[in-house]
Symmetry: C2
């Protein structure tokens, strides 16, 4: 079969790789129908996150079960399924508590020795614990595919930011980051009943989506000017809830400063700036909570899926380009240059 | 009148100062019956926190109202009252929400231009917003005074750590810091229904109090060895809730490492180590929440007071020495040398 492989910075290739097969009784093999490229894949693409040359890549996909191991009881060939971006055994303490990202048997697609999501098929470990069934009619209805696919990572991660920032009815929310996760954070905050959402961003294609997702205000400024602008919009107090969806030192510093006293920052941007942006003195005197981390998408998908199926939310609006598998290298280039927001791969 | 004054590092003196008087219609003058010395006063005593020579000191006291301004409606001369360690107007958004430490009209006792708690009397701004009434019979009953006094700061702060760390029935809790706040954190966690409390400490006088307050286990190790010991006690997982009551880089690093994946660190130690101890990468991958800050004692006192009055909690056990006002300089020395845990000042 064919799959995307990373050989080094800026070097993604589509190559022939061994067909996946059931290796353990809990495995399933899933033929990929849709995959996509994540902002976090760009850290590898840019060489910031190290990869072994020849490593597989991509961690978001949905598809059809082709084969199951003897121990798989929840799925059968022909089932349509969605994969969260982490696999997990479904039985450990953490999985039962809904923190599947801490499963001791868990792992990330594209890790050395595992398949990536950007390919024709994937071996799924712990299929019963990992996969979520999709209604066949929903998959057949092509227009729902982007939003279903978004649940694999970006929508679940935006939701994690909103939940971690304690968004509830009446909250004033600020969102740092205009990538797919930040935009999904706007949508998640809106879904959770936020009273007012302020999106930070300056690219109109993105801020248009933010407004469509529920942002009442857009702040184009950055750093201190953004802090000033948000304070002006909030009677000098700041936002109850701040969603941090970037992960740099600067974005974390901005996020903490945007929070109202007693408020919370939900951070889901993979940290790339150390802790220097975490101003603990400011957090202490103003009682700011910092919560978040890698999103347990497997816990959130069952909660968010009905809203996608009935059209209440359409996170698939973050996809602005669709390519075939051969178009994946171009998709990386486009996202790296910010000429594409998020690229869907239709197989 | 006479009061404690700080002139420089290791230089606390008892001096004649002007009698406090009502300066604003919302003021009250309170004659101090009991005050105490706080671990955080030692930062000033040691010269780590800057003070203007001649500045007043002390931020914990209870006493009797002597005089009230024309706008004070909730108190009259002769009332017994407890002061939280921050004054607050009682009417702003933050005060109404229970975050009185963020009151724009608030301040800390002993700030330049204000009275400190370690003196014969104190001018209390915003008396209606700041003070909490104590039953006269409780004050008359001398044995309750230490526990009432502890509500002014250390017990409320320990409670804030426990609440911020999300202690609830069934929680496994670890407490970093064996000072009065850490010990009160043990008591607060026990009061909130923690299933098991692990106190870090090596001084038997202190760990005895921790056990009396509800700690099931005491870990004498520090740093990596403490992390290892707590993991062994918790089936390798760590504590759901960690109370950080020190404020150094090392203690914050330890606290985050002690937390179970998905757990929370409630931090109330005044930060003296910058953010270097906040390992954001570890927090991200393990979904650790960091919450806390300066405790809104004014919000907690009404909740905790009934438990002191009926004897359900006795945070006054943290006081192991009582001095008169003239003994205050000796009290600082004793706490600085750790020969006293917490010193009460009986006037």
């Amino acid at each position: 079969m064919r799959a995307a492989v990373i050989h080094g910075p800026n070097d993604i290739r589509i190559e022939d790789v061994p067909d996946p097969r059931v290796q353990h009784p809990g495995d399933a093999v899933v033929r990929v129908v849709n995959a996509c490229i994540c902002g976090s894949d760009l850290w590898a693409y840019r060489g910031v996150a190290a990869r072994v040359p020849g490593q597989r890549i991509g961690h978001e996909f949905l598809g059809v079960v082709e084969e199951t191991g003897a121990a798989v009881s929840g799925f059968a060939p022909g089932d349509f399924v969605l994969a969260p971006f982490v696999w997990s055994d479904g039985t450990c303490d953490y999985c039962r508590e809904g923190l599947q990202t801490s499963c001791p048997h868990g792992g990330f697609w594209g890790e050395v020795g595992s398949d990536g999501g950007q390919g024709e098929a994937v071996r799924v470990p712990y299929a019963d614990g990992t996969l979520v069934r999709l209604p066949a009619e929903a998959v057949a209805e092509e227009r729902l595919l982007p939003s279903l696919l978004a649940l694999s990572d970006v929508m679940s991660t935006g939701h994690h930011a909103a939940v971690s920032a304690r968004v509830r009815p009446g909250s004033v929310v600020a969102v740092v980051g205009d990538g797919a996760v930040g935009l999904c954070g706007v949508l998640a905050a809106h879904r959770l009943g936020a009273d007012r959402i302020i999106a930070l961003g300056r690219h109109q294609a993105r801020t248009d989506i933010a407004r469509a997702f529920g942002a009442a205000d857009v702040v184009a400024e950055r750093g201190d000017a953004a802090i000033e602008a948000v304070r002006e919009l909030t009677g000098g107090q700041g936002a109850h809830c701040v969603l941090e969806a970037v992960g740099t030192e600067e974005s974390m510093r901005t996020a903490i400063s945007l929070a109202r006293d007693g408020g919370a920052v939900g951070y889901v941007g993979v940290p790339h700036g150390g802790s220097a942006g975490v101003d603990i003195g400011q957090m202490f005197s103003r009682n700011i909570t910092l919560a978040g981390g890698v999103a347990p998408a497997r816990a959130y998908i069952p909660e968010l899926l009905p809203d996608v199926l009935d059209g209440a939310i359409d996170p698939g609006a973050v996809f602005d380009r669709t390519v075939g598998l051969d178009g994946v290298p171009d998709g990386y280039r486009a996202m790296d240059e910010r000429s594409a927001l998020k690229v869907r791969v239709a197989l």
